[in-house]
Amino acid sequence: MTTRSTPVHARWVRLTHWVAAASVVALAFSGVEILMVHPRLYWGEVGNDLTPPILELPISRNHRHGGWTTPAPLLDGPGAPVSAGRTFEIFNQNGWGRSLHFLAGWMLVAAGLFYVLAGIIAGHFRRHFLGGREALSVAALWRDLRAHLRGFVPLPTGGPDYGPLQRISYVVVIFLVAPLLVLTGLTMSPAVAAAAPVLLDLFGGHQSARTLHFAAFAVLMLFFVAHVVMVIRSGLGRQVRAMTVGDRT
């Protein structure tokens, strides 16, 4: 057995993996609840029931509930902004929903920062994301893509010997999707947006950030499903053992 060619997952990789996994499940659950309270998406700074959405999601009784009092103008003149009150008791569990979302968010940020710092210091990214020239070639990527499309699943290595597509998906999720989720989330915080208004400019406003937050969530869920499917197809028991106790057998 050559330890160098088939390394096991480092203890800090296993630990941060499961903290992140638990956080993502809690974030997805509470995030869907939060979206159900206002299942409308907008672009720009402002969006509410009295302004047009770019997308309405039929995911709760709040979808197009239509229970509004007659709109009253808030300014003089035609086409003035209006105000209206609800005559419909909406679904709203944001008390626990938001608090769980932020609690899990803090956990994910802590685990994520630890993972990225440790990954740089321990050379994890250098060795397992960038290392092994042959895995980074176009030919290898093409081979890997065709193998995946044919449904061929390689045996699990029980360690960080990631394939080309696997590397790409990890890099996209860790260095693109996760930071986008965190930054768009922070943009929606009135206290953070006051301290760093550049976030509002970066994403085109509060509601644009909210829409992008949802889009990034959708990509993350695609990754989540693909990840779990690949873990199951390549040997669930062995993969889970490798990611918990760090066993290669």
Binding site: W12, I34, L35, V37, H38, R40, E45, V46, G47, N48, D49, L50, T51, W68, T69, P71, A72, L74, L75, P81, V82, S83, A84, G85, R86, I90, N92, N94, G95, W96, R98, S99, L100, F102, L103, W106, L113, F114, L117, A118, I121, A122, M188, S189, P190, A191, V192, A193, A194, A195, P197, L200, H206, Q207, R210
Partner: protein
């Protein structure tokens, strides 16, 4: 094998670094926080509060917009106290409306040198501030409105804060009970607003007087204000307050 001890050293350095980062936040632990009522979620809310107070600059202002940016604005929560289920709330509000809010008073008590009451006319004689800001509702929507009112700090100055004062507690006609710390209370954009979009504050938006706490979520901007109590200790309102009812006391996130 020679690489091993070096790797451990790096790992130890990393752990030390993370611990030092946590130590920065621990500095905020002397700050009073609302009770958690045994809930991990409330503990998370308190962590957010400490993190914001430790990491964010206290003086930052929210972005202000132009008149052309004003948008439609839903009114949620209580929108007409005159038709409230509680007879005393409805009765009181009808009397206020009949007197054009001449009978309305705001009481200012607690840790102040000069407790007293303010009529609407008296508040309007104080220097005012008008700001066009974005309201961020916990439900997920936003709206831009123009608010005119007296900065809360002016009223607190007039009352004379005692050196022991740390929080401002608010009560409303529709029986809401909430508080903010002095950092938010003395913030230049924290208003006691009596005007919206250049007109008197509409009934649905909290007439005659509502709070604007711009760096927190909309529900902290209490409508139909009646009482303002300056306190030395944090008063979350107990059974009437937000934390006990499952909502965060600090909601700047």
């Amino acid at each position: 094998m020679t690489a091993r001890p070096r790797l451990v050293t790096r790992r130890e350095a990393l752990v030390a670094g993370v611990a030092a980062g946590g130590g920065v936040l621990l500095g905020g632990c002397t700050r009073p926080t609302p009770p958690t009522y045994g809930s991990l979620l409330r503990l998370g809310d308190n962590f957010t509060y400490l993190a914001h107070r430790t990491l964010l600059p206290g003086e930052s202002l929210v972005r202000e917009y132009s008149h052309a940016d004003l948008t439609s604005f839903p009114a949620v929560g209580t929108i007409n106290p005159a038709s409230a289920k509680r007879a005393e709330v409805a009765g009181t509000y009808r009397r206020w409306l009949a007197s054009d809010f001449g009978e309305w008073r705001l009481s200012v008590t607690g840790s102040v040198a000069r407790p007293g009451t303010w009529s609407l006319a008296e508040l309007k004689r104080l220097p005012s501030r008008t700001q066009i800001t974005k309201h961020v509702c916990e439900e997920g929507w936003t709206a831009i409105g123009e608010w005119t009112g007296v900065p809360l700090s002016r009223v607190l100055d007039a009352a004379g804060l005692q050196p022991s004062a740390r929080f401002v507690t608010f009560k409303s006609l529709d029986r809401r009970y909430d508080s903010i710390d002095l950092l938010d209370a003395l913030h230049p954009q924290t208003l006691l607003a009596y005007g919206m979009n250049g007109r008197d504050l509409p009934v649905a938006h909290g007439a005659p007087l509502r709070l604007r706490v711009e760096r927190q979520i909309g529900y902290k901007s209490m409508k139909y204000l009646t009482e303002l109590i300056v306190t030395d200790d944090l008063d979350d309102g107990g059974a009437r307050g937000y934390p006990k009812n499952g909502w965060a006391w600090y909601n700047g996130i």
